[in-house]
């Protein structure tokens, strides 16, 4: 970047430098002098030996700067191309992953039937977990709603629907989900269903879950994959964010997806 910034100034200075560089190369005499000097035919020389031979320091600096700027420019162009290629590869990989294809049929925390088509036209951030989860689910849900709050505070951005889907249908009924989601965000939607319905939606989003052994209180921990999913208004799986991503990073990514989104349904 520095080289690129310097390059235009270097170009402007070129005409000023030329006259300075000229005297040493006037009439090809410089070359002549060099030859004589090297062959020692006339050790006394012409009295010009003390002067710098070849291109002057400034010229050499200029050439180096121009060469560097060229290299820098080529590097930037290559990097932009690589970035574009990477983006294409990622989009293609996500498309081929075929995550979240097909429909789902679940109940929200108010007992209403919900299917995937109900979310068409909305950006959705979705997380799978369970209400008896000790620390990771509440942390991730807190992060998810933080992203939603950040985005809804920015005028001009489309609203984002936060969704929490349980992987513990045995305990997480409609009432349990209602109690749980109210702690996080007024618009957070809790989804539950029968064991089969939950298995189906989890499979569709490649979410693994496995209930651990029950203790005396009939309590257990459900081991499950942790990722926040972004669905576009077309209902298509668009991106996912692991635990290491911060709310700011996720919000940035969602903003980028919103800026480049073109519906394929119309």
């Amino acid at each position: 970047m520095l080289l690129l910034a310097l390059a235009p100034r270097a170009w402007l200075r070129l005409p000023q430098l030329k006259p300075l560089a000229l005297p040493s190369t006037r009439g090809g005499e410089s070359l002549h002098v060099t030859c004589r000097f090297l062959s020692r035919q006339s050790p006394a020389g012409t009295g010009r030996q003390g002067q710098p031979q070849g291109p002057g320091l400034r010229t050499r600096l200029l050439v180096t700067a121009l060469f560097g700027a060229g290299l820098g420019g080529a590097w930037l162009a290559a990097r932009a191309k690589k970035e574009q290629w990477r983006q294409q590869q990622r989009t293609e990989a996500l498309r081929q992953a075929a995550v979240g294809q097909g429909d789902f049929s679940l109940l929200d925390h108010q007992g209403h039937a919900r299917c995937k088509a109900d979310f068409r036209g909305q950006w959705v951030l979705m997380y799978f977990g369970f209400t008896h989860c000790p620390d990771i689910c509440p942390d991730e849900l807190e992060k998810l709603v933080q992203v939603v709050r950040q985005l809804e505070a920015e005028p001009g951005l489309p609203p984002v629907q936060p969704v929490f889907i349980t992987v513990d249908p045995e305990r997480d009924n409609v009432e349990a989900m209602a109690r749980y989601v109210q702690d996080f965000h007024p618009r957070l939607l809790g989804l539950t269903g029968s064991a089969e319905q939950v298995a189906q939606v989890s499979r569709s989003y490649r979410v693994y879950y496995s209930a651990g052994p029950k203790d005396e209180d009939q309590d257990y921990i459900v081991d499950h994959s942790i990722a926040i999913y972004l669905l576009s208004p077309d209902g298509l799986f668009t991106d996912y964010y692991g635990r290491a991503r911060s709310a700011e990073q996720i919000a940035d990514s969602v903003r980028r997806h919103m800026a480049t989104f073109r519906s394929v349904l119309h």
């Binding site: 209400t131 620390d135 509440p138 305990r171 702690d183 203790d215 209180d217 921990i221």
Partner: protein, 79 residues
């Protein structure tokens, strides 16, 4: 059994952090943190206590491993 509410979760995490802090300060000597241990146990579901105990072991191991202090035992290294 209903899942803990946000208030209950926060009380549990608070008691856990106090207990873990005590362990940190007493080089993992649990006998010096009995009071905080019982407050931790009374603030969290039993299943969570098991989970957090394992989680602390894991976090301690991770800390050591990342600091480069972890040495695999001879039997592990040779097997």
């Amino acid at each position: 059994m209903a899942a803990p509410s946000m208030k209950e979760r926060q009380a549990c995490w608070g008691a856990r952090d106090e207990y873990w802090k005590c362990l940190d300060e007493n080089t993992e000597d649990a006998s010096k943190c009995k009071k905080l241990r019982s407050s931790f146990e009374s603030s969290c579901p039993q299943q969570w206590i098991k989970y957090f105990d394992k989680r602390r072991d894991y976090l301690k191991f991770k800390e050591k491993f990342e600091a480069g202090e972890f040495q695999p035992s001879k039997t592990t290294a040779e097997s």
